[in-house]
């Protein structure tokens, strides 16, 4: 059983047929981005066509789960019952992802110490056996 950081009351992911594979991979603790097989452009959220070359062909690239804080906010008002406060929402620039960033949370950190540029790595929060949410923690590991 993995560590829990947020309650069940947090909003669940919303997905369509194109974005669902991201959450299916997440359930297996794999962090992926969509990659155009025609030009190699990577993107998140996934979409039906590559915005660079307009090809509809794409696969999924699995990432190391490491990256760095691009920007962040420390939220002091809850949106969900029992939400731990303050909540750190961060934009993470992902390694080996062609410059792709994602929205996530920073957990296990003193909010007053959060800074842009901090190295982070993914930590999976199993909300259920079928739903895992990628969150991040500060890491000392070399990238």
């Amino acid at each position: 059983m993995s560590e829990r950081f947020f309650p069940d009351s947090m909003p669940p992911p919303l997905a369509n047929a194109i974005t669902l594979p991201f959450w299916q991979a997440a359930a297996e603790h794999r962090l992926v981005v969509q990659r155009c097989t025609a030009c190699g452009h990577t993107r998140l959220p996934p979409g039906p066509v590559c915005p660079e070359c307009r090809s509809a062909e794409a696969d999924w690239k699995e990432l190391s789960g490491r990256g760095e804080i691009y920007t962040y906010t420390i939220v002091h008002r809850p949106i969900a019952a029992g939400q731990p406060l303050p909540t750190v929402i961060a934009i993470v620039a992902l390694d080996d992802a062609g410059g792709v960033r994602m929205i996530s949370n920073l957990v296990g950190v003193d909010p007053s110490e959060v800074a842009i540029g901090m190295p982070v790595e993914v930590v999976w929060e199993d909300m259920t056996a079928e739903l895992a949410i990628p969150r991040f923690r500060v890491t000392e590991k070399p990238r």
């Binding site: 947020f6 309650p7 069940d8 009351s9 947090m10 909003p11 669940p12 992911p13 919303l14 997905a15 369509n16 194109i18 974005t19 669902l20 991201f22 959450w23 993107r43 998140l44 959220p45 915005p51 691009y70 920007t71 962040y72 906010t73 420390i74 939220v75 002091h76 008002r77 809850p78 949106i79 969900a80 019952a81 029992g82 939400q83 303050p86 909540t87 929402i89 934009i91 993470v92 792709v100 960033r101 994602m102 929205i103 996530s104 949370n105 909010p111 842009i116 909300m127 259920t128 079928e130 739903l131 949410i133 969150r135």
Partner: protein, 407 residues
């Protein structure tokens, strides 16, 4: 010379109130009342109106408004297809296109918002006190591209606007050393302007920089006083042809230029998009739009006498001032701190009504109303001999803007 000939002939509004405090009246009824007030201001009759325009998924559908008011004919009904407050100036632009191309002759742009009757935007529509669903969380169906995009923000608790727009502001602080006190100077300046405006919800409540710094943190770096109000009220703007506007009750105001849209890959902007281009991330995303706007009017930032800048959050004001060329990139903080936006002695008197931070949050259509009053000499913080006013709609989302001129 300007390429457009549509003019704004009338403006009006209802009483503005804190969310939930407007009394026993529906949002829809307020829309109707604002339209009537704007049409009366122009010296027109409701029987003259043949077009309606709005923006941001307006609940008060034009066909019902037209039926309610008994318009003899509805020839044009239009809504901007961009979410949130970015579409206010675009709605005016669409009305202008309609009258310039003969689709209609008198188009009223309206906006009514009753956060007390629907959800408070500040909560993002969530209720943290609601009972928890006993069913375990699962992935839910996203019925639109917007919801699929929000699917990558919601699980992390990113739904409050105060948090979404904190992200570019924090990065601006990191890149350029912008400070919370500089953000605060925006809020304090607009509150001072509101103090002369009897329509302003916060007109009777002065604010000092110390008050701003002592206000509670909502979503760092946004303190409470960095966030716009949540309001109940409505306003409207009457757009018609130059020929028609010339003979009406008030001095007409010309729409010198309008622009709308978004940069490549912008989607819903900072609200859900973590992948806005690096060079655009700590900006309002409106620099290219601003260049197109000025070029269309044959004007530059130095020609702007007074500005009404969409102020959902203080940081977004600062980034727009850079986008629109009033200071260099990264210098928005020192620029606002110098007093540039102040009615008293500022080089660019801005939000002379008090803005969304201190007059009311009506999705920025009240900024168009104030832009018109500023050029008519009717503002409660008048700028002498003002000839050109810039009005912007929400930035950090797909946006729009107007350059208005005194005629």
């Amino acid at each position: 010379m300007s390429r457009t000939h549509a003019h704004i002939a009338g403006v009006g509004e209802t009483r503005y109130a804190r969310w939930g405090k407007i009394g026993v009246v529906t949002e829809y009824a307020l829309a109707i009342q604002a339209i009537q007030n704007a049409v009366a201001d122009a010296g027109l009759s409701i029987d003259d109106v043949d077009g309606l325009a709005s923006f941001a998924e307006d609940r008060n559908e034009a066909v019902f408004v037209a039926a309610e008011l008994g318009l003899p004919v509805l020839r044009f009904a239009n809504m901007v297809w961009m979410p949130g407050g970015g579409g206010g100036c675009a709605a005016v632009a669409n009305a202008a296109m309609a009258v310039e191309t003969g689709q209609a002759e008198v188009v009223v742009v309206y906006r009514s918002l009753c956060q007390g009757q629907f959800f408070r935007f500040g909560t993002g529509g969530m209720d943290a006190s609601a009972p928890v669903d006993p069913k375990p969380p699962t992935v839910q169906q996203a019925g639109s591209p917007m919801l699929a995009s929000m699917g990558f923000a919601l699980p992390y608790g990113l739904i409050m606007a105060a948090a979404a727009y904190a992200l570019p502001t924090r990065r601006h602080m990191h890149l350029y050393g912008t400070t919370s006190a500089q953000l605060g100077s925006v809020a304090v300046t607009f509150r001072e302007h509101a103090s002369r405006n009897p329509r302003a919800v916060m007109g009777a409540k002065p604010m000092t920089l110390a008050d701003h710094q002592a206000s509670p943190m909502i979503a760092d770096p946004h303190r409470l006083f960095d966030c716009c109000l949540e309001s109940d009220g409505a306003c409207a703007v009457v757009v018609t042809t130059r020929e028609r506007a010339r003979d009406l009750a008030k001095r007409p105001v010309e729409i010198l230029a309008s622009e709308q849209g978004a940069p490549k890959g912008y989607a819903f902007g900072h609200f859900t998009n973590a992948n806005i281009a690096d060079e655009l991330y700590a900006t309002g995303g409106t620099e290219a739009l601003a260049k197109r706007l000025y070029a269309k009017a044959g004007l530059g930032p130095g020609d702007v006498d007074v500005a009404q800048i969409y102020d959902h959050f203080t940081g977004c004001v600062l980034m727009q001032l850079e986008d629109y060329g009033f200071c260099k990139r990264g210098e928005g903080g020192p620029f606002v701190e110098s007093g540039a936006l102040a009615w008293k002695g500022g080089s660019l008197p801005t939000n002379t009504h008090g803005g969304s931070l201190s007059e009311a949050y009506i999705h920025g259509l009240n900024h168009v109303v104030e832009g018109v009053r500023a050029l008519r000499g009717e503002s409660t913080s008048p700028v002498k001999d003002a000839e050109v006013c810039l009005v912007t709609s929400a930035a950090c989302v797909p946006s729009s803007a107007l350059l208005l001129g005194r005629r």
